[in-house]
Amino acid sequence: MRLTLKVWRQDGPHRVGRFETFEVEDISPDYSFLEMLDVLNERLEERGERPVAFEHDCREGICGSCGMMVNGQAHGARARTTVCQLHMREFKDGDEIQVEPWRARAFPVLQDLVVDRSAFDRIIEAGGYISVSTGSAPEANMIPVQKEVAEAAFDAATCIGCGACVAQCPNAAAQLFTAAKISHLNLLPQGQPERWHRAVNMVEQMEAEGFGSCANYRECEAACPKSISIDWIAKMNRDYLRAKLRGVKKMKIAG
């Protein structure tokens, strides 16, 4: 295959970026999208040009490192697929492909397609855990969990933290990520003692990070490589509201 790539290039944080156009040839339809970028980079290096920076690691769709806008869609057009699992057989010979980094104020660009997603980590730090220090756990089967509840918690917990939901949202909102993390723990019996604090802490941390507001576009759900449902956003809003009615305020619960 032969392709024309229009790639966002930005030398560093706070630098002015621009699109650059590259032609790539001899691309096998069996390559993944990232392998296609590997080929581009190897050719750029041969010519003494700086390769395109992009994040990636496991290349099997679970680490959440990779992510870029491919023709305006987070991780590309194929549903439920990270860009490392997107294969070139999804494209046609001669296609022009536009490649951009996640675009959101809370995800500043570091270089080319690499952005800073540490805001997600700070949302987790605010309350995305069950406070159980090592050693204090009861015997595992002392806590029976309804199968349906365990499955639902898993569905929420499967989020890989890639940021596609934010990138795809016209408002750059992080509701889907935050809701998935809150719901995973708030559904489980183990998560009940901190349920209200967790909802308030994480929602308010999310707002403090500069993400936008949710306006129910549902773009996040469509872009999510792990099919996280927006139903969790409704659950998060419910938990948040109930917590506020109880007078719960954001406070440090970690110890």
């Binding site: 769709g61 570091l110 800073d116 918690a153 998560g191």
Partner: protein
């Protein structure tokens, strides 16, 4: 430097508890006076950071990822073993211990393996309390499945994403400590050297991957939890950034490297499809619970799988190993797959795989049940190969996956360098010459949650009041050396990319020190590796500088260390004149082609000591004493 495994005396089942009762303690009020560096935030590193933070120590956690949650533990699929005996099928701590030491082909330390089996049950308790959503039955209790090398069902799992869920549990526990202020996180920061003075680890030198800034960090103890080195083969199931640099640099500073040639080639991966392929993808071993492995009986058979009748199929594992069948340990499954492909009976266009067929299971249990168990794996397979595994059997082939070798540690997980502790895949301690499935997660978490917190306190207690500082000659010297190394790589200005060298190196190591090895091949590799390495330092090209994000520069440092490791692996494989587990020397096999161990001469850990550049390293042997089990010829028939 001491080279004493320091295994406690007493009967096997009392060693750990007895040892624990006599370890020194650090009082809660004194713990904030100690600084601990932890490198790596996978299962081992994150669980250690969380637990030490909870205890009140001051922890600095380093990861080269943007977030601790990206560590490659996240990709572990199948499950985690624990001797809970919830199935009432005869499991016990002893049986898990026995299966693990036998699975490792009697090349691991009895006491370590027994402790691992003991702690396995506590890991499940801890993970469940953290909210890890393990699979459950309708009664609300935890479900299990079975894995290779065991005849009981003791594997706990969260669909095909057990590693992800356990890592998120540990990461969240660590996040809580970051919020609490006990753990300070250094993301996008890569350790490039260990600082050692007078045989004691003083701290590390690290590089900020965004700004290129080199910084020094001092601590009372340094903990390496930096994973394995399968990427020495270039194509492996490891994440692209997984590398040997942290432990290799520690080796160059005096830490012994144990059993480097013990590498695991995992039987169930998707076969390679082309030249530019960047990595191999694992299909969880759990598929062997319900999948049947076969190849056509006749090498010339080119019919589609569905058209090949039962009578023309060779279910070679079921025939050869009737009692374990498709659930033989990984090394055995891999070697038999290689044999089938070498005979020309491979399947697929490139004839480079064997079938893993779930048709019978789909018929027996229904498509829904199979989808619930393996849905995400089937989807991943379909994406990569464009074949639908519900209709056509999967094609699989072995791929490098895990490294049992690593830095040598004593029973307390401390290396021979005082104050340097090594956890998880980065150490050599628990899996001998072959790791059983669902044991890596168990070991990483046992080390981090339940071993290190005790043994580290014991090390620190007498050092109360010691001041740590980066203001020393050792730090200054090491920092300069790191800077020089970075500059050296940048200034070569040759013509070839890092990737092209890594691919060539990987091919040599795979061909000569992969699934089977022989003397002539290893000698050849020991000729070819230094030649390629010489070219590396003359003809490498890195574009850009060291003052910004530069992925090629990062890779170049890692590949430089892989070159040196590759040589040590071959040297180790050459010196071990026996076959055991994943180390299969063609000269040493039984009449029916199984690994032939030599307990009289090789019942030891090979620990290599670095003696300087271009010097042949010194080999030290830790003899393995089997007090409880009798090493036997492994039989899974």
């Amino acid at each position: 430097m001491a080279f004493d495994p320091r295994v406690p005396a007493g009967p096997l089942e009392h060693k750990w508890l007895g040892h624990r009762d006599h370890l020194r303690l650090v009082a809660p009020a004194n713990r904030p006076k100690f600084e601990i560096i932890i490198v790596g935030t996978g299962l081992a590193g994150a669980s250690a950071a969380a637990t030490l933070g909870e205890a009140g120590y001051r922890v600095k956690a380093f990861t080269f990822h943007d977030s601790p949650r990206r560590a490659h533990s996240i990709a572990a699929q199948g499950g985690i073993n624990a001797a809970k005996n919830y199935r009432n099928d005869g499991d016990s701590v002893f049986r898990l211990f026995y299966d693990t030491i036998k699975g490792g082909d009697f090349r691991s330390r009895e006491a370590n393996v027994y402790r691992l089996a003991e702690l396995s049950v506590e890991i499940i308790d801890q993970a469940v309390a953290q909210g890890v959503p393990f699979a459950r039955e309708y009664g609300g209790f935890l479900d299990n499945r079975s894995f290779g090398g065991a005849q009981v069902a003791r594997t706990f799992y969260a669909r095909g994403q057990t590693g992800q869920q356990l890592l998120l549990g540990a990461y969240q526990a660590m996040a809580r400590q970051i919020e609490a202020g006990t753990v300070e996180l250094f993301p996008r920061t890569e350790m490039l050297d260990l600082v050692v003075e007078e045989g004691r680890a003083q701290g590390i030198v690290a590089r900020n991957l965004v700004t290129g800034e080199i910084s020094c960090h001092a601590a009372h103890a340094v903990v390496l939890a930096t994973g394995g080195y399968s990427n020495v083969y270039y194509l492996s199931t490891n994440a692209k950034a997984s590398n040997v640099t942290a432990i290799w640099r520690a080796y160059r500073r005096g830490a012994y490297f144990a059993n480097p040639c013990f590498t695991q080639i995992h039987p169930t991966c998707i076969p390679p499809s082309g030249e530019f392929q960047s990595k191999l993808t694992l299909m969880s071993e759990s598929l062997r619970n319900d999948g049947r492995i076969w190849v056509p009986k006749d090498a010339a058979d080119t019919r589609h799988a569905a058209q090949i009748p039962e009578s023309d199929r060779d279910y070679y594992l079921e025939t050869k190993y009737p009692s374990f069948g498709n659930l033989v340990p990984r090394d055995v499954a891999s070697r038999n797959a290689k044999a089938a492909v070498d005979e020309g009976r491979g399947v697929g266009v490139r004839k480079n795989g064997v079938f893993l067929d779930l048709e019978d299971a789909i018929k027996r249990l229904g498509r829904d049940a199979i989808e619930e168990r393996y849905g995400n794996l089937f989807e991943m397979y379909e994406r990569i190969t464009a074949e639908n595994p519900y209709q056509v059997p999967m094609r699989i082939f072995p791929a490098p996956h895990y490294t049992m070798g690593g830095l040598w540690v004593d029973y307390d997980l401390m290396s021979n360098v005082e104050g340097l502790f090594v956890l998880g895949e980065a150490n050599f301690s628990d899996h001998g010459a072959n790791r059983l499935g669902a044991s890596a997660l168990m070991q990483g978490l046992a080390d981090g949650y339940f071993v290190l917190p005790y043994t580290l306190a014991n090390f620190l207690a007498p050092r109360l009041g010691e001041r740590v500082t980066v203001d020393s000659e050792a730090f200054r010297r090491t920092e300069v050396e790191v800077q020089e190394r970075v500059q050296q790589l940048l200034s070569i200005d040759g013509k070839r990319s890092v990737d092209s060298f890594q691919r060539d190196l990987g091919r040599i190591v795979w061909d000569y020190c992969g699934m089977s090895r022989n003397e002539r091949g290893l000698e050849t590799a020991l000729q070819e590796i230094p030649t390629l390495r010489e070219e590396y330092y003359e003809n490498l090209r890195i574009v850009g500088n060291g003052e910004s994000l530069n992925a090629s520069l990062e890779k170049a440092g890692r590949v430089a260390d892989f070159f040196e490791l590759a040589e040590l692996m071959c040297r180790d494989a050459l010196s071990r004149n026996e076959s055991c587990g994943g180390h299969f020397r063609e000269e040493y096999q039984t009449r029916d082609g199984e690994a032939l161990r030599d307990d009289d001469h090789f019942a030891h850990v090979s620990a290599w000591e670095y003696l300087g550049p271009e010097q042949i390293p010194a080999l030290h042997k830790e003899h393995l004493h089997f007090e409880t089990v009798q090493p036997t010829q492994r039989s899974y028939k």
